[in-house]
Amino acid sequence: MNETLKKYLLKLSSVRVGFFLLALLAISSVVFSFFPTGQIDGFSKFVSLFSWMSNVQPDGSISFQERFESPAFLALIAVLSFSLAASIFFRTKAEFLRLRHSQLLRPISESPESMRFQDTMPTVLKTLRHYGYKPLVRSLEEQITIVGERGGKGTFGSILFHTALLVIIAGVTLSSVASFRSSISLTEGQEFDSGRDSFGYEQGGTFYRAPQEDLVLRLIRVEPEYAVHGATTLATIVAGNSVNQEVPIYINHGIIRAKREIHQGAQTGFSPSICITQQNGDVLFKGFVRLASIHENGNNHHRDFLTFPDHDLRIEFEFLPDAVFRNGRFISRSQDLVNPLLRISVNRGSSRSEDQWISAGSAAQAGQLTLSFTEVRRWSQLDVVDDPGKNVMLLGVILGSVGLALRLLCVRKRIIVSLRFQDRKTSIDIKGTAEKFPAEFESELALFRTTLQLLLLQDTRTNQSDSPGIDLNKSKKEELQEKALP
């Protein structure tokens, strides 16, 4: 690898750069959180707050790009991905080198040097193994070093976790370039054919290829679904031509038809059937008006309007599904279709000419217009999605969870025991390293040292019963034994 490139890649892979990028990502996310995302209707508030900005047009529309799809944010994610990739590469390489290095340290059983320390070695090995350390040996001229290691998987956990983050970023990228997201609002009885009709809203990635099979949706009915405590939602039933059967879609899980997912959207409401005829018998409008549901003052209001610019006409509708007359006005007691009532306001120019309430199956006269309200149906928004990136994302989440758990559970520790033979005596030097929890490891190392000392003293007393050795108090010895070898 080119030295300069390697130098820069090493810098990019450092934890310091990772720290800086994470902090930058967090700060930019905080800043971007103040901008509307398009996910929700926060634009009106935004317009009133930031009307002085050049991006806000006089008519209230905003020319802002989605902040999280802006080049600056994407560049930050790209740099973070490079940093992750470089970090994974160098750390994996280092781990392989470490493993190879460990193999150079021979297993104890194959070590001829062990004969020289045959009185000490077995005890050291026994103690290391007791504490879960895998012993390996390295010999020099005058000494033998036994390295006990445990918790090596922790580093692999870290590598796995960072790889998972990269997989997640890959999944998100795939979602943004190769997914399709759309929605359509249908009234009961209405049919939608993706080969013939167009979605109300659709957004496809640059590399999205639509499945060959057309998707046909027919909304059979929208049912209020009563929860245990009386909450309502909708079960929307769709018939797709690929299966041609009625399937309920519940709010918490969609269905898959023609290789696309169909979910119940957030919007739903009522569609009164309206017929507007002129005095000469010409039909100005005939069909279902899809009323928007607006949550105001703790109630759902169903409103919409029709405009006829050629006739300088604007007709407003307000619908009450369960109407009663109270305190001098009509209100709706519930969202159930019990006593549907429709308010029609006919406006010519700037003045309101007619405003009247009519029930289903009746008609109203407004000047030269006849407005009939024949029936009411429900409508529901359906979201149609095809996202190949989500499975990649899910894989990343699983890998990340395993990696993080490994990182949490495994702590890499090393105990290095050096045996030196000098002046017919064996001296023992014990050292240790731990990548985290140093205070706890110090206690562990002290316990190891005590155990080893105790076992070596025991051996000495057993082998040389005549030699005085160190006279350990019996109770102290038992206490140490109990602590060291539970």
């Binding site: 934890v15 310091r16 990772g18 720290f19 994470l22 902090a23 990502l25 967090a26 996310s29 905080v30 971007f32 959180s33 995302t37 996910q39 929700i40 209707d41 926060g42 508030k45 999280f68 998100v172 997201r181 679904e225 929860a227 245990v228 405590h229 009386g230 909450a231 309502t232 939602t233 709010i251 918490n252 899980h253 969609g254 997912e261 979910h263 957030a266 979201d383 999605v385 996202d387 989500k390 994302m393 899910l394 989440v397 990340g400 969870s401 993080l404 758990a405 990182r407 949490l408 990548e435 985290k436 929890f437 140093p438 205070a439 706890e440």
Partner: protein, 275 residues
Amino acid sequence: MSQTLLSIVFWLSTIAYAASFALFAMAAVFHRKRFLDLAVTVTWTGFLLHTAVITARWIQTGHPPFVSYFESMSASTWFGVAAFLLIQQKKEFLRVAGIGAMPLATILMGWAGTHPFGFEILPVGLQSFWLFIHASFAAAGVGCFIVAAGVGFFRLYKAHLNGRLDQIIESTDIQRYDEFNFRLVLLGFLFYGMMVASGAIWADLAWGRYWGWDPIELWSLITWLLYAVYLHVYFTWRGLRGRFLAWYSAIAVFVAGFSLWGVRFFYETIHTYGN
């Protein structure tokens, strides 16, 4: 159990948490071990009362206690106090960390109490077993962050007193507090990550998309990134492991709290509680 009785038991548990904080503070100020023992006993009492409230509500409503603001805050506090009691039982030197954890628990309980206490109807959109998984991880994650903040705060206090607390707790290397602070953050980071991941899976099942940059999602990501920064600092700058990270964890917990309960006051979001 009637709602009134439950409400009384809830406030009794809050009072017990407040009293335990006072006793922890008195133990630290007057260096009396008796106050410390009493503080732990009072915390246990409050915790048992709190557990009774949560269990009774769960049985009566038939859904896990994560649906309303009240339930979410109460459950997170419960996880935090449970984590504190568990670790102080195992590691006695961490008992005094209650001086940092209990005021947070008391404030959260008080804040929870300002929200409607009544049994919330579980909206159909939330009738999913993912609610239990997603919200449990959120509460467990914040619970860990609360105790980590408590440990961090106490570590700073202990360093400030320079060994004067050795009369009431065994003389412990201050590094042990840093280690526990790190362990709790790491565990909270794992739980919080699982919360984000399970939320993404649930969102995909319900809405057909796993991520939408909704303010709640965004602030959860920001919180997670903040704690990721903590972990990177821990592994990289050994010199910052003590005082700096103790301050960091004591402050970052407010961002975690904001992401769960504060975002709705400033942003419009599609994430809603039952009420």
